[in-house]
Amino acid sequence: MNEIAAKATIRPRRRLIASRLAPYLLLQVLIALATILGLRLLQPSDPEDFALGGISLREDGAAHPVTLPHFTSSRYSLANPPLYTGAFTFRNSGAGWSVYLPRFSNAVEVAVNGIVVLDSRRDSNANRPDRNTPQIAAVPASLLHDGSNEISVRLFVWGPLKGFLDTVYVGPDAALRPAFETRTLLFVTLPVVFSAWQSILAVILAIMWLMRRHEPVYGVLAVAMVLGVVQAFVPPPVPPVTTSRLAAVLLASAPIESALIVVFALLFFGRSWPRYGTLLFLPGVVVFVAGLLGGPPLPRILFLVLGIPMVGICLLVMAGITAAQVVRRLDAASFTLGCAVTIVLICWIHDMLSVFEIMSNERIFVSRLSYSAMLVAIGAGLTWRFARALNQVDGFASQLVTRVREAEERLKASFAREEERARAAALANERTRLMRDLHDGLGGQLVSIVALSERGHEGATITDAARAALKDLRLVIDSMDDIGGDLMLALGSWRERAAMQLRPHDIALDWRVATPQGLPLHPELRPWHVIQIVRILDEAVTNAVKHAQARNVAVTIETLDGGEGPYGVISIADDGKGFALAGEGTSQTARGLRNMRSRAARCGVTFELNSDSSGTRVRLQLPQVFPDSDAAAG
């Protein structure tokens, strides 16, 4: 079943790959064609009217006629360079004449009529094979004479590249200068502009990386750009200076840069680092180490053998990575980067073909230029992405604020709802309790009043029932008050009511608080506990009045401590005649007694009653902690 599922997922995936990859590849082909076309169209045109003809080359002692552009063999010695000689006809028209060399490698020394007018070795940038630097030199009028003049060009070559000399132009300066300016703009100024741009981006990216260490992608790109800038601005040593170690660094820059760009692509697309990824840096390191250890021309040879192909490999890897990313995500970033890589790759192939003379050309190298352009584009893209991320953060923050506010509102509403519900529940509970309390006392007493009135009773019995009802109403109201767990406050009110009840019967109420603080505090004390306790006390007092014919009722309040913490005791003793405990079970006294016991049990009070002919004693031992729920209600 799993296999079927796997197959089922593979097929649409393949279709997806095909449907995404095919248009992408087609686009890359179109871009490649456009690049080739662009390279052809952008080939700077030279003033062919003033091309030097009839050139002869003297090399290794032998002279033979050649046509420019011309490649000479690669060599490692500056001694005895190839010498191109030719002749041109000068007609004095008052305008200054110049000699213009659009492209040569590596360096030239131009002499007119035996006098040197230009030595490019003094301009180190002009000798760089990766730049297509043109040279122009004004020929002093005094050197020229009407008719045929001789011009000789000594071409200095340092291997392993072959020497190259493009067509040499001699003519009025005004005719040559525009072509020279065009080439200077394209191959000198533009790279400088790109490099300057690159250096600025390098700084920006480095700052980004410093502030966001967890995003090494910025750091990698910054390092690549710094290398590029160093390579562009540091003048390479001219071969006679054989001991320079700088050459190694500069030569190693290209393969290291390209490897860094691959690393950047991996990080940018969030791919995992391949196991042998570090091998990408190997060629660059080899060139670098070889350059440090051995003198020229070894680094240059290694560069040609290792560095240049490495650049190509890196470009191919990049193309692969971006293509995979296009298939996976189909996003703008991978698409753009893929197109840029294709352009640079085409430029690199162009240069390779040029180096191996497979393509007829004027040996114009464009990879470095296109690479710089790509790097600038990537940097700009990254900066754009960073700014967009900042915007997103802003948006996210404001969204978060809104969300938090919403959540707060919801929470507030739900809290209010919950509070409302709790209040309603508390109210309902309280109503239930109040109802029960009123039912227990007031209700029954009022019914009894109604019954007594209907039967024509008068006076004392109805009065007693009504008084009892009022007393109970006061008790219920009183018990609702918050007494903060101090039962003494409830007993204080009770004392007043009991005294009022006893006074007409001429019974003295002896109130004795044995311990200064009275009773211990009970934070858990609830109104229903208070009601139950006070009703027990009421019952005891009522018994003393009605049945015992007592003259004196003594209430003692004290706090005892049996070693397990303090507990309160309330005792009520009368000096009446007492009653038989095992008396009739249906009598009013017996029912009152049962009530007292059950009330005591409900709030965890230990109830004791002793009665004999000398009086009745009721002892309530309060619990250390009052029960939370009604123990006997359920």
């Binding site: 009504a466 008084r467 009022l470 109403l473 006061r474 109201i477 009183d478 008050d481 918050d482 007494i483 903060g484 101090d486 003494m488 406050l489 007993l491 204080g492 009110s493 009770w494 004392r495 007043e496 009022m500 006074r503 007409p504 109130w511 608080v513 200064p516 009275g518």
Partner: protein, 227 residues
């Protein structure tokens, strides 16, 4: 037998109660005790009765057909400061009693009190002994505790300013709330038994809010109102 004041004249009582049986009951008890009682069933009748001279004692119900007893108490305090005022209450609940105290009443009389108790209470009142019940004392001391806790929400029930009470007076109130007798309180606090009623009278006076302006001033003093 006739109760007489210091000048030897009979003590006059104005009884304002709209429920006729209750009114008769109280009047009987007071007349039997020797007081001169005039009764009124409404606020209007009470005001008319006042025009013919100020009584020594005013006993008034709070809910009257044409107004509230509180208005009558306030008027009485302003016109005749010497008159002793008491509220007649069915239940003696704080809601009605405390609001009456703040306008100048001293204590309350239960409508179902025994005749002897009614007479005793009025006699004590005229003698300068303002009675205070345990539940009212409890309400006041709980309110002093509540004022100490700086809660944003005012506690439920009538507004009561306890800021002027001294610690001794609060101790006395605690004693009454817990059911101690005056003698017990006096011995606990090292006072003479005779001074306790005077303290209680002072407590009543301190709880009285004389004018609206004074009420606001008190509220500012206590930080209840922020200007």
């Amino acid at each position: 037998m006739s109760e007489q004041g210091e000048t030897g004249e009979a003590i006059t009582i104005l009884l304002v109660e709209d429920d006729a049986p209750t009114c008769w009951r109280l009047q009987d008890a007071l007349v039997k005790a020797g007081y001169e009682v005039r009764s009124a069933g409404t606020l209007g009748e009470a005001r008319q009765a006042l025009n013919s001279g100020a009584p020594r004692v005013l006993l008034t119900d709070l809910r009257l057909p044409d107004g509230h007893g509180i208005e009558l108490i306030r008027e009485m305090r302003q016109r005749c400061p010497d008159t002793e005022i008491m509220v007649i209450s069915a239940l003696g609940d704080e809601e009605s009693v405390i609001s009456a105290i703040t306008v100048g009443a001293t204590g309350y009389l239960l409508k179902d009190a025994f005749p002897t108790d009614i007479a005793t209470t009025v006699r004590d009142l005229v003698a300068g002994h303002s009675p205070i019940s345990a539940s009212i004392a409890r309400f006041i001391v709980r309110r002093t505790q509540g004022a100490a806790q700086t809660s944003a929400e005012p506690p439920p029930g009538p507004v009561l300013n306890t800021a002027k009470l001294t610690p001794r007076e609060i101790d006395i109130l605690w004693g009454i709330a817990k059911g101690f007798s005056y003698a017990e309180i006096a011995s606990h606090l090292g006072l003479s038994r005779q001074t306790v009623p005077g303290h209680i009278k002072n407590i009543y006076r301190k709880l009285e809010v004389h004018t609206r302006g004074e009420a606001v001033f008190e509220a500012v003093q206590q930080g209840l109102i922020k200007l």
